[in-house]
């Protein structure tokens, strides 16, 4: 039986067969991708990528602090001592020895310097629960339920004198326990003014979601300064020094054009390479506006009289 010419695929279309197959597959895949997207964002019908995003105002953000899941908090980290990738710290072998652990408090500004065992620190002070926004300088954010004690309480125990103008924090730097220790040519250093350190918002966190901190989150004790970019909240702290002069923190030393001492969150002052006006909430899609002092202006704005001084905001 002869083949009817009408059943033969025209050459033009035949030649485009691969493109057509690819396009067909692409269209077929869209609902699946969209389902995956909705599933990823909490099985909600509202979370279709075909619908426009719901705008978020600063006020709405203040009211609804939706907690970031624990798996996300423990899975997405910047902790270069355990690798540069965001999932390196979570995947690294659990080599950090967190018990016994001591924190040394000293410096010229401390009249009663001392060595504090982590168990004693946890025993002596009431563990408080604080839900804080966490804003990374890389323009992403989380909401984290911390457990910890006020840094002010630890500092008061060391009897600060009038020479205590700044506080310097040293992170453990041990090649035996951290595969990428020494990436910054020395330990990770951070610093605060004494006023910032004594602010009631400033925490020494020992846990998240009522569980002890995991290695990738800075076990067993870390700083949390919620109105500053995340790199200020240094991890696995072994030493706290009360000093007279402004300490040079690691990122400032690494790149003084892009990072400074204060690093207060401010949507108006962009990073030299990217905008700080909005942020990506980890595990979600779309962006939300960033708030001045990360939403803690009422508590800390008085510490920075000059709102237009860039020094305070990078």
């Amino acid at each position: 039986m002869p083949i009817k010419s009408s059943t033969i695929t025209p050459e033009k279309i035949y030649k485009k067969r691969r493109t057509l197959i690819a396009a067909g597959l692409g269209v077929l895949a869209l609902p699946i991708v969209d389902k995956g997207y909705a599933w990823f964002n909490g099985k909600s019908q509202e979370n279709s990528m075909f619908l426009p995003p719901q705008p978020t105002t600063g006020e709405q953000q203040q009211k609804s602090l939706e907690l970031t899941p624990l798996e996300t908090i423990t899975g997405y980290n910047n902790y270069y001592e355990f690798g540069y990738g965001k999932d390196d710290p979570a995947k690294a072998d659990k080599t950090l020895i967190t018990s016994p652990w001591t924190v040394e408090i000293g410096g010229v500004g401390a009249d009663k310097p001392g060595l504090y065992d982590i168990a004693d620190i946890k025993g002596e002070h009431a563990i408080e629960n604080h839900i804080y926004r966490f804003r990374c300088v890389e323009a992403w954010s989380m909401v984290i339920p911390w457990n910890g004690i006020k840094l002010a309480d630890m500092i008061k125990a060391a009897k600060p004198n009038s020479r205590a103008k700044y506080v310097r924090f040293i992170t453990l730097n041990d090649t035996q326990q951290m595969p990428n220790a020494g990436w910054a040519n020395g330990p990770y250093v951070e610093g605060l003014t004494i006023e910032e350190a004594m602010n009631p918002l400033t925490l020494m966190a020992t846990g998240v979601y009522d569980k002890p901190l995991e290695q990738q989150n800075g076990a067993p004790i870390r700083l949390v300064v919620p109105w500053k970019y995340g790199f200020k909240s240094s991890k696995s702290i072994v030493k706290i020094e009360l000093v007279e002069h402004m300490p040079q923190n690691t990122w400032w030393k690494q790149n003084d054009r892009e990072y400074g001492f204060y690093a207060n969150v401010n949507p108006q002052f962009d990073h030299p390479r990217w905008s700080q006006a909005t942020e990506r909430v980890i595990g979600k899609t779309g962006r939300q506006p960033t708030l001045l002092f990360n939403g803690y202006a009422n508590e800390v704005a008085h510490l920075y009289p000059d709102k237009n001084n860039r020094l305070f905001f990078y």
Binding site: F40, P52, T72, W274, S275, R280
Partner: protein, 193 residues
Amino acid sequence: MILRPLPLATQKHLLNIGLCLFLLWGIYDALIGPDLVSELRDFTGRYGAYLLLISLLFTPLSLRLNWVKRHLTMRRNVGVWGFLYGVVHLVVWIALEFAYDWSLMLDEIAGNLFILLGVLAFILLLPLAATSNRWSLKRYGYQPWKNLHTLTYVAVPAVIAHHFMAQKSDVLEPILMALVLVIVLVWRYRNAH
């Protein structure tokens, strides 16, 4: 039994399947990770840039290495896949990172040189990807086609610069990529003169 190399067409199919599976694996890995958006964005961006850079290596290496010379036409597969990874990269940025907030995206492009470079590179690569087929080569003629495709030497440097500027601190990898690129460009320039 003597092992004979597979026909070139089969090798190309295998390359296509391999690069497609690698992309699917990247999507799967991002879906099970803590942050789909940044993982998929960085995966497709990084490997797209690698593929585009590799596509530029074919011509200079083919003069020295017979193996590359025999597989010279694979250059197109590698280049087009580099572009396709870039398409996914862009879709992730538009749909997942910015959730179709066009005004915010425009602000981002205007305010950030590295985003602008990425967008420019994509626009430059569009006509190249569209004409990466035998039909276009025949239709436009070899010389005009070749002239158009010298745009890769603008687009790929823009891609590498974009990749470089996207890093927070560890720039060894983009520096090595830039080094390879400079060698290719110098070789190209000296060969043309």
